[in-house]
Structure formats: structure tokens, C-alpha cells
Amino acid sequence: MNGPILDFEKPIYELEKRINDLKELADHQEDDSLEGLELTREIAALEQKLDRLAQEIYSKLTRWQRVQLARHPRRPCTLDFISLMCTDFVELHGDRGFADDKAMVGGFAKMDGKPVMVVGQQKGKDTKQKLYRNFGMTHPEGYRKALRLMQLASRFNKPVVVLVDTPGAFPGIGAEERGQAEAIARNLREMTRLEVPVIINIIGEGASGGALGIGVGDRVFMLENAWYSVISPEGCAAILWRDSAKAPEAAEALKLSAPDLMRLKVIDQIIPEPNGGAHRDPKAQAQILKREILSALNELEQLKPHELIDQRIAKFRVMGEYVERGRE
């Protein structure tokens, strides 16, 4: 394995390394030799132990550990998912007004032969890519590009698949000059009006308005270890305790995990991740997600455009919790 390893993943990688070392050793032994048989037994025992250990670690992740998995340097991001789930991807660029935002990607593609429009934030993995993609932090032209592509899909009756993965909309001078707030607000209204099925997938980080800006649809799916909230844990910690190092506490307070959002009735479905997280098996992850997207599209394609829109509005209409006291 190359690339960094998270603290809580260490015991697993250490055990995996021991198993691999033993396997290498076993390769140099005769299969039926005494040493060879003993090695085989030991390897089998360790593999069982590895399964148990992974179960144990990944079944009780804290919210902060999930945030770390969502940001894992090897976690598949939007373009990985597109290449693993789709064929014939034709990337389309630009907002037709100001620029082509590299933090937002999109285009037509086929999922098991079915034509769809895919859009999503692209974060980038190595330093050069991260800079090129502005760390997946979108400018107004990114939201406008996404909307242009989704409206294009709507006009030509192609469903929309959205992949959300952003640490936030970019806070900068140019972003404000070009109307970051207006771009996001317009998307919220106009995504409501799209006449084709729209499937939202929170695949990694879902930070605030930057995520929601492409987050209105008929189904909202969330990967098991993704996070989605009104503010990042660091931002929350900075406000509450004037100390962004308290992000782990903030992650707990914000209830930002997929199970939390399921309980709060904000998402429709948790997409399971392979044992240990999406980065341990991106191919398997993409297959799991693709299956759920296609099954949802099959259902939604039975509906007429006005039914889709009515149901979409009704879906978001009921979100929130309040009490209504009897009038005095």
C-alpha cells in the first residue's frame, strides 16, 4: 500500500503486512513441507484475525474518524467514480459567462449503456492536481456551469447524476464579486425545476452551501463514511471554541455522519462502503453506487415531469424540526 495511513487504520495495515510477509515466505517453501503447512495455517489464522479486527474498527467509527475517511488521500473522487461507473464520458466545459471552473466537472456519460448527465466537484489527489482543482472549492462559475449542464440534460430528457465532494464553496474576493450567494441560490431554485430525475450522491465531503449548491434532487444518497453538514468541523470549532484543533469535538456536536442524516430524514439511503472504506476497494464501491443509482432512475423514470417536480418540492418541504404550541 502506498500513500498515508490514518492512525486508526494502522493495526489493520500492520497485520496485512505481516500476512503478506508470511505469504512471501510461504512461496519459497515446498507446499507439503512441514514448514509450508505451518505457514499456511498461520496465514489463515491471521486472515481471520484481520477480518475480525477490521469489523471491530470499522463498525464503531467515531464521527471524526468518518470525516478522516471522507478526506482520505486515496478515497475515490468524482472523476474516479465517473471512470469506474461510466463509459463514453464526454466532458463539457464552461459556464458560457465567465470561465471554466476546474473544481466542478461534468458531462454526458453512459451507465450500463444508459445516457446520463454527471456533474460534481473534483478535489484532486496530488499537490499539483489539488491546486489545479482549487481543492474542490467551487467558484460561482462552477455552480453556473453545473446548472447549465443540468438544464441541458433536462431539455434533452437525460437524467442527472450529481456527485458531491467539496470542503466548501470558495471564500474569496472574485467569488464574492461574481455572486457566490446568487449562484448557489439560483441552483437551489432551478434544480427544483429540472424536468428529469436527479440523483444526489454525497461521496466524500458535503460542506454547507458549497455542497447544497448542487444538492437538490429526487433522491439523496450518502456513502457510509461521507459527511454532510451546515459547516465544516473546523469552521464550527473555530466559532465555538476559537480553536480549529477542536474539530473532533465539533464533528460529534454537528451530527454530520450518514447514520445521523438518516435519522434526521435528510437523506434517503446510506450507500455501504467496502470494509475499511471506499479507498480500500474503489472498484467495488463504484459498482455498489452504480447499482443504487440505476435502480432509483428506473423508479423515477415512471414519473411525468410535473410529478417529479411536485415530489421533489414535497421532499424538501418537510425537512426540519419545530414545535407548534397551541394558541393562547
Binding site: E176, A181, I184, R189, E190, V230, G235, R317, G320, E321
Partner: protein, 278 residues
């Protein structure tokens, strides 16, 4: 100008937390020391630099609505604590404290009123209630105000003043942006006018949802408007922000406002727009 007189009375009768007591008041913007009585007469606008002091939701009702009268709806909606959120205080305690301080149940007042005889669905936010933040109650009340405009086919006017979504309700606050904007899609398709008025400050989650979706968007002068807070921007880009950045004037210059209206002309301007859009 009956409403104008009424407005002045309304303003005089109120004491505001962010304006210090005393005969003299210092302008936040130019530092001018102003005679309090004179400020009250001028609707809390600095006579020297035109700085618009922050006023309460009740003051805007008096300023905009005929006789300051609002038939209030949904005043009995109150926040719950879906996240069991606790920082220096528990969230329910924070709510109770704000309710005591402001005499409001949450950061917005909604209902039906008249503007120069024309019925409107009206909503006004109050920055005094946890920074005018939008949680489930604000989102629900805005949603119902939109629905009232739809059902009665009357214009919608929202006066915003907000630091954004309310952190203490986490993701549910964020979803209020989608909820209100989704209903505005309906209003938009039914061609019912929506006038959005931005006052100091209107930022983040509120600015990135209904406040930016008016058919006509009006701001008071020199208000702080934007998506990200200036401090966050400064920390991110590590350079000084240009003078006037994120002000109403900056927003107008960059094409995101229809007009800037002095507080004295606000009722007249809203009323005219509503007339033109009817």
C-alpha cells in the same frame, strides 16, 4: 404621510440593545456624535454619513406596513433541539434567553399586512435573535409565507437580516435553504411577485437562498452582504480586503442588486415595485 409618522413613533418607543443608551449616540461608521432625538427622527440613519443603524423587526413593520399593522401567523412555532447541541450553553437555553431578550419566539416575524392599501405576505427577520440565524423555525415560517402568497395570489415581501444558517441545528438548518428555494420555484412559475429587501447584514445561508431570489432585490445602503464572512475570506486568501468590499454598493456595482434604497424611501420603493409587478 401617515405611515411615516407612525414609523417614527414605533422607533421612538423602542430601546435597542446594539444602540447604547444616553442622549448622544456615536455613529458606528463615521464616528460622528449624534443627538439621539435627531437619530430617532431620521429613522436611525446617520445625518452625516447615511449609515443605517440596525433596527428591529417591529421597526420595519412600522416603517413598511400601513398603520404598522401585521396580522401575524405562525407566531407559536418554536425551535426544538434535534442535535442536542451544547457549546458554552445548551441550545434550548440559548433559545429561551433570546426569547426573553427580544420578546420574539424566533428570528423572523411573518404574516399578512398592507402596503399603501395592497395586501402582501410579509416576513421580517430580526438580527437580535441569535444573529438572525435560520433554523427550522425560520425556514418553516418563510415556507408558509411563500405558501400564503401562493394561495392568496398576493406579493411576497421579505426583509432579511441574518448571519446565515443556524449552526445549532446542523444539517437541518442547511436544508431550510433548499426548502425555501424549492417553494420559491413554485412562486416563480405562478408569476407571483417576490421583493427581497436586504438589510445589514445579510450573509451566508440566507443570502445563498431566498434573499437572492427576489424578482427585485433592494438593499439598504452600506449593508454587509455576501456569501462568506469577511474574516473567513481574509484568513483564506491571506491578503487585505479592498475598501467597501461586500457592501451594498459593491453588490450593486457587480450587478447583484436592483437598487439601493434609503430607509426613508423603502416603503415607497417596495410599494411601486409591487404595483409594477402586479
Amino acid at each position: 404621510m401617515e405611515w411615516f409618522k407612525k414609523a417614527k413613533e414605533g422607533l421612538i418607543s423602542q430601546r435597542r440593545k446594539d444602540i447604547p443608551d444616553g442622549i448622544w449616540v456615536k455613529c458606528d461608521s463615521c464616528g460622528e456624535i449624534i443627538y439621539r432625538k435627531e437619530l430617532e427622527k431620521d429613522l436611525w440613519v446617520c445625518p452625516k454619513c447615511d449609515y443605517h443603524f440596525r433596527i428591529k423587526s417591529k421597526d420595519y413593520m412600522n416603517l413598511i406596513l400601513d398603520s404598522g399593522e401585521l396580522v401575524e401567523f405562525d407566531e407559536n412555532l418554536e425551535a426544538t433541539d434535534p442535535l442536542e447541541f451544547k457549546d458554552s450553553k445548551k441550545y434550548p437555553d440559548r433559545i429561551k434567553e433570546s426569547q426573553r431578550k427580544t420578546n420574539l419566539n424566533d428570528a423572523i416575524v411573518t404574516g399578512i399586512g398592507k402596503i399603501n392599501g395592497k395586501e402582501i405576505s410579509f416576513a421580517v427577520m430580526d438580527f437580535g435573535f441569535i444573529g438572525g440565524s435560520m433554523g427550522s423555525v425560520v425556514g418553516e415560517k418563510v415556507a408558509r409565507a411563500i405558501e400564503r402568497a401562493l394561495e392568496r395570489r398576493i406579493p411576497l415581501v421579505i426583509i432579511s437580516s441574518s448571519g446565515g444558517a443556524r449552526m445549532q441545528e446542523g444539517i437541518l438548518s442547511l436544508m431550510q435553504m433548499a426548502k425555501t428555494s424549492a417553494l420559491l420555484a413554485r412562486l416563480y412559475d405562478h408569476k407571483i411577485p417576490f421583493v427581497s429587501v436586504l438589510t445589514n447584514p445579510t450573509t451566508a445561508g440566507v443570502m445563498a437562498s431566498y434573499a437572492s431570489l427576489g424578482d427585485v432585490i433592494i438593499a439598504e445602503p452600506k449593508a454587509l452582504l455576501g456569501f462568506a464572512g469577511p474574516r473567513v475570506i481574509q484568513q483564506t486568501i491571506k491578503q487585505d480586503l479592498p475598501p467597501g468590499f461586500q457592501s451594498s454598493e459593491f453588490f450593486l456595482e457587480h450587478g447583484f442588486l436592483d437598487l439601493i434604497s434609503h430607509r426613508q424611501d423603502l416603503k415607497k420603493n417596495i410599494s411601486l415595485i409591487v404595483e409594477y409587478l402586479s
